[in-house]
């Protein structure tokens, strides 16, 4: 329609290109700001709760939370961020931006310290060095000696996540390489079967897996959970690794073999180093997944010496949520930190994972 209208009109006598260009620029920046505002608004429900958790963990005391700290902090941070975005938009030179940003950051920090600095404390993090914090709060009668030290849970989580990652990375790269590079009878059937397993939701199998673990005597052991967690995501990781192997040029392998390497040597010494990014991506992803696992560990681990971090946090929250928000929030921050750091620092690897390619 729009094209027809412009064609019908006679051309304007003197087109002022400059005003046209300016108008276009203005319209463009207006629409960009609208989109940006939309993104900020819809992302607030995600950012604010995380911030609230951190604030609680550093300010709450037994019996109460003070809500004004959150809003005071927001009243400092929001204008600072807005001001910086204005600076960013109006200053073209990156050095000036950096200086202005640093000054702004310093002012914001000084304001925060002046306004709420005396409200911050680390008491809620005392669970890190005192084993029976929960019992102290709830009094011995309710939960006498029920809670292990947080470091037991931390160690269990670490063992579980690391060993599961090692299994996945070994098994998935072997299988991924084989189905990427070898011809064997039944290859198509195998691949199709794996695809069905990949799409199939393993969560539905939680009852029979529980029974199998019980029968083979692996119920309530870290080893059992480790094997189950490694298996149910395995088809996904095999396909991811296959994708990485697929993108390694064949010539590398061919020339290695012309030089006298066997197939296994070519795999180990020549191809594997080429998929380093894939190995890192899969490891990080698998680690984060195992670190956060809840349903399977909740169902398969019972004794408190086998608790992992998710169970520790769950029971802490279950026991003292109404009484002491601060400790629960502090445990949450402690628990979320490793996966968050991994996510932030390894994001460039994680974004390289693709699977199979969707038609279209």
């Amino acid at each position: 329609m729009a094209t027809a209208d412009t064609l019908a009109k006679p051309p304007a006598p003197a087109l002022n290109w400059q005003t046209l260009a300016q108008g276009g620029k203005r319209r463009r920046s207006a629409s960009q700001s609208t989109l940006l505002a939309f993104l900020v608004i819809v992302s607030l429900p995600i950012i604010l709760p995380y911030f609230w958790m951190v604030v609680i963990s550093f300010t709450a005391r037994t019996g109460g939370i003070s809500t004004d700290v959150l809003w005071t902090a927001c009243a400092v941070i929001v204008p600072a961020v807005l001001l910086y975005s204005v600076i960013h938009a109006s200053l073209p030179s990156p050095r000036l931006r950096l200086v202005a940003g640093a000054v702004l950051l310093a002012i914001a920090c000084a304001l925060l310290i002046a306004l709420i600095g005396d409200r911050l404390h680390f008491d809620n993090y005392r669970f890190l060095w005192r084993a029976n914090v929960v019992e102290e709060i709830r009094s011995k009668a309710t939960a006498g000696g029920q809670f292990p030290s947080v470091w037991t849970a931390f160690r269990n989580s670490l063992v579980l996540a690391l060993s599961q990652t090692v299994i996945i990375i070994t098994v998935a790269s072997l299988a991924g390489y084989y189905i990427s590079r070898f011809a064997f009878r039944g290859r198509e059937a195998f691949l199709q079967g794996m695809l069905v397993l990949h799409a199939f939701p393993a969560m539905t199998l939680i009852i029979p897996i529980f029974l199998i673990l019980y029968w083979v005597g692996l119920l309530d052991t870290i080893v059992g959970v480790m094997l189950v967690l490694a298996t149910i995501e395995l088809p996904f990781y095999v396909f991811v690794m296959k994708g990485f192997f697929d993108s390694v040029p064949w010539d590398i392998e061919m020339s290695a073999m012309t030089d006298g390497a066997t197939r296994r040597q070519a795999f180990r010494l020549v191809v594997l180093p080429q998929v380093r990014v894939g190995l890192i991506a899969v490891s990080v992803f698998a680690f984060i997944r195992a670190w956060e696992e809840y349903i399977f560990v909740r169902t398969f681990l019972i004794e408190n010496k086998n608790w992992v971090m998710s169970l520790y946090l769950f029971w802490v929250a279950d026991d003292i949520m109404g009484v002491d928000y601060g400790i629960v929030a502090a445990v949450s921050v402690f628990y979320v930190l490793p996966s968050l750091l991994l996510y932030v620092f390894c994001q460039k690897y994680l974004t390289q994972m693709t699977i199979g390619g969707i038609k279209g």
Partner: protein, 306 residues
């Protein structure tokens, strides 16, 4: 010559066992065997003692005729899955993908990272965040806004609108996967199509309607099936936020099976209920399989030496 050939065959077998053996063993033990066990146990009377005394069809009879709570749970499941899917996992995911690809690349990546945050943080922490948000007294984050900014009485989502709460909690996580898939699909549209459309005088909405959406047809259908399935079977956040309650108000079908088995000790009945989900899972997996790029996936290998 023959010794060379037998050596070749032996090496081929050894490679097969070395490379595919571990995968095959793990999948057989903890993926295939559970399916078989589930089918078997569904026809028994296994209870709290985990022992089997007889084989029976009673579980299925109970499922079809006697369990009145099951019907309610199916209704809840339908509302939960359809609402979350349409509003968040496909609808909002698409909106996010469209918006984050039309701002500058850095800003877009930043906001996508924010939306991925819930998926990357542990589920117990994510559930706690929601509990702090909807805390019924005035300390709850939502109520701080409702009471002090809007001047309304505090609201208690968890007890009065539990289904809305679990839909929101699942939706904020669910939107991120679709967002990623749709973003990469939008990125793979050839740039010149956009320029050509602009030159022909198309506005932004016309470009979305005539260029982007047609290109996203396959990813959208894939994500619809994938997310329907995953919403049908996951109950992690529901269990953590409302525990299926109050009473049975947010007990979706998969959680219903879980509660029957692990809360009431009716393992056989739980297995029978899960069997329904297993069958749905297989059907949906086969449907998705048709949407994958088979040709690229099954491309034959080029070296035949073992």
């Amino acid at each position: 010559m023959t010794s060379f050939a037998t050596a070749q065959i032996r090496r081929r077998r050894a490679n097969f066992a070395l490379f595919l053996g571990p995968t095959a063993i793990l999948l057989l033990l903890f993926f295939i065997a559970p399916v078989v066990v589930d089918v078997g146990v569904a026809f028994t009377d296994m209870g709290r003692t985990l022992s089997v005394s007889s084989f029976t069809l009673e579980n299925f009879e109970r499922m079809l005729t006697r369990d009145s709570r099951l019907l309610a749970s199916l209704g809840i499941t339908a509302v939960f899955v359809i609402t979350t899917l349409c509003i968040f996992n496909v609808g909002f995911a698409l909106l996010l993908a469209l918006v984050t690809t039309s701002v500058s690349a850095r800003v877009g990546a930043f906001f996508r990272a924010i939306w991925l945050l819930p998926r990357m943080s542990p589920s117990v922490v994510y559930a706690l965040l929601w509990l702090w948000v909807v805390d019924p007294n005035e300390r709850g984050l939502l109520n701080q806004i409702v009471v002090h900014v809007l001047g309304l009485p505090p609201i208690d989502l968890r007890n009065n609108h539990p289904l809305l709460l679990v839909i929101l909690a699942n939706g904020f996580i669910g939107a991120s996967l679709g967002m990623l898939i749709f973003t990469s699909a939008i990125r793979s549209i050839p740039e010149h199509l956009f320029h050509a459309a602009r030159a022909d005088g198309a506005g932004s909405l016309a470009i979305v309607r005539h260029i982007v959406l047609p290109a996203l047809r396959w990813p959208i259908s894939y994500m619809t099936i994938h997310q329907t399935l995953s919403l049908l079977v996951t109950f992690e956040y529901i269990l953590l936020i409302t525990a299926g309650g109050p009473f049975y108000d947010t007990t979706v079908f998969s959680l219903f099976a879980y509660r029957r088995a692990f809360e009431n000790g009716q393992y056989a009945y739980g297995a029978a209920l899960s069997l329904v989900l297993v069958i749905i899972g297989v059907v949906a997996a086969l449907a998705m399989w048709r949407l994958m790029n088979m040709k690229e996936l099954l491309q034959p290998p080029r070296i035949e030496v073992h």
